[in-house]
């Protein structure tokens, strides 16, 4: 597959959540493959939860991260299985688009999460965060927010695990 075809495919995928949700009105930023995957530590299978959006900005010199997690009940299995990105691209983030990291059919709609904060050398900074529970109802989108309590934090990792 040449680069143009790949870019077109990425753009096509970016349209999928827009068409499905109808929420995004602004043009999406250019594709950044594997961006979310590089920020997420998945400790076990998640119950049909995917990350749609992950943003990072400094507020008062403290790094603030906000993520939008969505319960994927709206996606039928047919859509999931037929979607090319589901099988061919393990992780794809195009601005604010789907990251198909879910793989479980667990009936649980509850996950745990926490942030790790890293300094410029990749070392952990700040106190270790406690795990927090996030409960979903089917198709629900939830925002989580993390704030680095150290001004030396320049990067982060989002740890996710099933609540079971």
């Amino acid at each position: 597959m040449n680069k143009n075809a790949f870019f077109k495919m990425c753009c096509d995928f970016a349209l999928i959540p827009i068409l499905l949700t109808g929420c995004a009105t602004q043009p999406l930023p250019p594709p950044a493959p594997n961006l979310i995957a590089s920020k997420v530590i998945l400790l076990n299978e998640l119950p049909r939860i995917s990350i749609y959006d992950l943003r990072m900005i400094p507020i008062n010199d403290f790094l603030v991260v906000e993520a939008e997690l969505v319960h994927n009940d709206t996606f039928s299995d047919t859509v999931l299985k037929s979607a090319p990105w589901f099988t061919t691209l393990p992780v794809l983030i195009v601005g604010a688009t789907v990251q198909p990291m879910f793989s479980s059919r667990s009936s649980s709609n509850s996950i745990q999460y926490r942030f790790q904060w890293r300094d410029k050398n990749g070392m952990n900074v700040g106190s270790e965060e406690s795990w927090k529970v996030l409960n979903f109802i089917p198709s629900q989108a939830q925002h989580i927010r993390g704030v680095a309590t150290s001004k030396y934090a320049v990067d982060f990792k989002l740890e996710l695990k099933n609540n079971n």
């Binding site: 507020i59 008062n60 403290f62 603030v64 745990q112 926490r114 700040g126 106190s127 270790e128 965060e129 406690s130 795990w131 927090k132 529970v133 927010r145 993390g146 704030v147 309590t149 150290s150 001004k151 609540n163």
Partner: protein, 207 residues
């Protein structure tokens, strides 16, 4: 005959080895009863529906994160000076609210965005030490701390924790609400306020 000798010799060696091993084992101190283990204090603990360390941690994190991203920090040329006044416990449970306050103070102090001045509890220790240095006669006057040099905090952090308990059949629901306020002690203006709600539901087992 040879076989018997071999058997006796083998038995003797096995007996000696067993005694040796058991002798060594008996000299080793027992470091574990097998019933105690260390746990992850950051893991979510839901042993009972009463307030616990996980709740304290969530409360402290929410409050710290909110304060660090507030306009109070953004608009301050100098680090704001804060003292913790009191977190009232308005629940029916015994809750060490100072432990919550200290968790928040620790996290905020580590952020280096604010300065904390001693609260009432800290002042007791400070006064005791001041008296010891000033009155024992052991310390040089020029090298001991003096009364009257302490800096007062500009802001006071206080709040309360309340709970709502509901029961229906075997289900018990407790809602905890921690509300904190930061007040400018000069102007009495409320500059920041935040609340954290935690819902804990438990179901009594029928077995």
């Amino acid at each position: 005959m040879i076989t018997n000798r071999t058997n006796i010799l083998g038995l003797a060696i096995a007996l000696t080895a067993t005694l040796g091993v058991s002798g060594c084992a008996s000299n080793q101190p027992a470091f574990s009863s097998g019933n105690v283990s260390y746990g992850d204090t950051k893991a979510i603990e839901t042993l009972t529906n009463e307030i616990g360390l996980t709740d304290f941690q969530m409360m402290a994190e929410t409050m710290t994160n909110s304060l660090l991203t507030s306009t109070l920090i953004a608009g301050s040329k100098q680090k704001p000076t804060i003292t913790i006044s009191d977190i009232k416990n308005k629940t029916s449970e015994h809750i060490d609210t100072r432990a919550i306050a200290l968790k928040i103070r620790t996290q905020l102090s580590k952020s280096q965005a604010v300065r904390f001045m001693g609260d009432k509890a800290d002042e007791k220790h400070a006064l005791t030490e001041l008296q010891r240095q000033g009155q024992s006669g052991r310390y040089k006057a020029s090298k001991s701390v003096k009364m009257g040099n302490a800096e007062g905090a500009k802001y006071s952090l206080y709040g309360e924790i309340t709970s709502i308990v509901k029961r229906a059949d075997d289900i018990k629901n407790i809602d905890y609400i921690l509300n904190l306020t930061l007040e400018d002690l000069d102007s009495s203006e409320i500059l920041w306020t935040e609340e954290k709600e935690i819902r804990k539901t438990s179901e009594r087992s029928t077995f």
